[in-house]
Amino acid sequence: MSAISARRTSSAAATRGGGVLPWLALPALVAFAVFALIPLIGVLLLSFTSWDTLGEIQLTGLESWKSVLTDPGLPHALWVTFLIMLLSWAFQTPASILIGVFLAGRQRYRELLAVLYFIPLLLSSAAIAITFKALLDPNFGLGAGLGLDFLTQDWLGEPGLAFGVVIFVVSWQYIPFHSLLYQGGVRQIPRSLYEAAELDGAGRVRMFFSITLPQLKYTIITSSTLMLVGSLTFFDLIFVLTEGGPGDATRALALDMYKRGFQANLMGAACVIGVILVLVGLALALLLRRIGGRDPYASQLEGV
């Protein structure tokens, strides 16, 4: 009897709360509309115009779309964006998982290292890019200073090397963040799972692959979503580091958009690329949710 009445009151509270809850979402919705939806509509409208940012905005229908879609620069920029996404993911994920698992240990020195690893995250991308640019300078950089010939390369001048440098610096900056996610994920895995495995005679490697990795599934999905969608908008770091160069070797979509809009004064074309970026980003986020399984909130702790 008492249980039933308790259930009643709680459900009554829920219905009353339902009246207030939508209002709580209002500030976020307003902010989203003002800073995301309305500008997005503006971008969409501008993509059907020609505008040099100075004169009048001229409605030119699909002209900007045609010029962008027929430009060989677009597939190239898409390819570069895709490669950056894929390679930086492939480099960051294993590194972050390993560091995260390592940092999840409670030893004092690991806590200290965790603080050190965290530092790159505190620096601005521009500062990181300028620093690496100075370090990689072929004449006055690290290689020349230490007299190490293998470090004295045309780092930002060879398309392949420059691409590698971009991936490396991006990873250097973001691995700490993802390590943090994995550290949290690992610490939530129940000790009892490992104890049971130990009793069954599993070694450390076996435990990593059979317990830690499967238990980290949702952390991996979250972290990968952040990495993949985030890499679509990499801009500041690449712009300061290579300006999209050498040639157009590191010109990703976001850089292409900036260059068209603000350097070449073709705002219509830049907005077309903006729309493409939004579409690619949405498609990617949807895809990742699909991959994440039908019911991403299903329990992993059945039987524990």
């Binding site: 100075l54 045309d154 850089l255 070449a264 004064n265």
Partner: protein, 454 residues
């Protein structure tokens, strides 16, 4: 030429963060532009001055801020009824800010700029005053300045800007100490340059320093090769929008010679990784890692400031770019920044326009301002300003720049400033690829022909 403000482009990005955000923000602010643009015409005069006060925006920081500010202050003292209010804007932000302001009809009365293609886009949008008749009535104002300074102020035969400040030709600098060590003489012709390349390479010294990542630095080489081989007409044809102008045989020859010099290791190894905003190219020259460098005349000030005693001990040499054997161009020609430019917003009130014109006639480059520019190591674009060099420790260099600027048959404007922003971006892009040897001269010409007149 971007050069004096090398880091502008890089730092634009810093305030913007995500590009999407930047584009969104820019598109968002466009709201008022169409409604106010053109339709409301000159009536409103949306600048901040008000009440008989003209407004004037210019770049912050040394070396230019002090002479600019002082000139306005003197003008305001002499004209209590027609004041000018100044706003100084950081180098990096200025180009975007002025463009946004003009697009939104919020331009200052006096618009500071680089002339050329940027000015042309203002003219096409009907945003700046035609000053041709005013210069006709005030011939004295025009006649005291270098005639070469008016080229970049003239669009389709009409003058839209008042040239001001200093002239900055591109100069071939060389390190005399390195030349002595290797036992060679400065080049008299392009043939000499090719000989020197071999000798310096044999001595383990890079013949030329080059900040290849910055792109406009590479462009300076093409500007001279085009001029010396085919004369100024070759680029003029591009500027005038002639069809397939880049296919000119002289243009192909210059582009081919450029790639030959790169293949002959004419430039420092890894030049594509070197940037101008960190002054790494300057450092290569004064540390003796490279023997020569083609750079704007402002490089003198940088060498003086950062290069230890290279300038004071007479270790730095300079000359105009030598002629190419058999070329059509006059070796006295030069390229660079023929001056800076002041335009009047067409959206300003008649009152404000009057104040601005008065400032052009009596305030700009008065004796005091000229003196201050000379102190900063600049050569004012006024005929006879060389008499101010007498006491200066930099007299030798200043006289050289004055001589180059006043004797040049043609003082061409740097290409990226002369062309429209759209074409300039394609140009710099293709120059980078040309220097990477990833496109041929013919491909370069075809790519560039596609944007002629855009």
């Amino acid at each position: 030429m971007e050069s004096r403000t090398p880091s502008r482009r890089n730092f634009l990005s810093l305030s913007m963060g995500l590009p999407l955000g930047a584009a969104l923000a820019a598109c968002g602010t466009s709201g008022p532009a169409p409604s106010g643009g053109g339709a409301s015409g000159g009536a409103a005069g949306g600048n901040g001055g008000g009440g008989g006060k003209a407004s004037y925006w210019f770049l912050q920081g040394p070396p230019g801020e002090a002479p600019r500010t002082a000139a306005v202050e003197r003008f305001n003292k002499a004209n209590p009824n027609g004041q000018i209010a100044i706003t100084t804007i950081q180098n990096d932000a200025y180009k975007t800010k002025i463009k946004t302001a003009i697009g939104a009809n919020q331009a200052p009365t006096i618009i500071w700029g680089w002339g050329g293609g940027g000015l042309r886009s203002y003219v096409q949008a009907g945003q700046v005053e035609d000053l041709t008749s005013w210069f006709g009535e005030n011939a004295a104002v025009k006649d005291r300045l270098f005639p070469g300074a008016f080229g970049a102020a003239t669009i389709d035969g009409k003058i839209y800007a008042m040239p001001c400040e200093t002239v900055q030709p591109i100069v071939l600098f060389y390190n005399k100490r390195v030349f002595e060590k290797v036992g060679v003489q400065p080049p008299q012709s392009y043939g000499d340059i090719l000989e020197l390349v071999k000798k310096f390479n044999a001595a383990g010294i890079a013949p030329f320093s080059l900040a290849g990542q910055s792109r406009w630095t590479n462009m300076m080489w093409l500007e001279f090769l085009f001029d010396r081989i085919g004369g100024p007409e070759v680029f003029q044809a591009v500027f005038d929008g002639e069809k397939d102008a880049w296919n000119n045989p002289a243009s192909i020859e210059a582009l081919t010679k450029m790639q030959e010099l790169i293949k002959a290791n004419g430039f420092i190894k890894g030049f594509s990784s070197v940037t101008a905003d960190s002054n790494a190219d300057q450092a290569l020259l004064y540390t003796g890692k490279a023997a020569m460098m083609l750079h704007g005349s402002w490089s003198y000030g940088i060498q003086q400031e950062q290069g230890g005693d290279i300038v004071s001990s007479g270790g730095l040499g300079w000359m105009n770019f030598p002629g190419v054997d058999g070329g059509k161009g006059d070796p006295s020609n030069t390229v660079g920044n023929p001056g800076q430019y002041l335009s009047i917003s067409s959206k300003a009130t008649p009152e404000e326009k009057e104040i601005a014109k008065k400032f052009f006639a009596s305030g700009v480059l008065d004796d005091e301002e000229q003196k201050q520019w000379v102190e900063t190591g600049g050569v004012p674009i006024v005929k006879g300003s060389d008499k101010l060099f007498a006491g200066s420790k930099d007299a030798e260099f200043l006289n050289f720049v004055y001589g180059v600027a006043s004797n040049a048959k043609v003082f061409a404007q740097s290409w990226d400033q002369a062309l429209s922003p759209t074409a300039a971006e394609v140009l710099l892009d293709n120059i980078a690829k040309l220097f990477q040897l990833s496109i041929t001269p013919q491909q370069f010409a075809s790519n560039m022909n596609a944007v002629i007149g855009k």
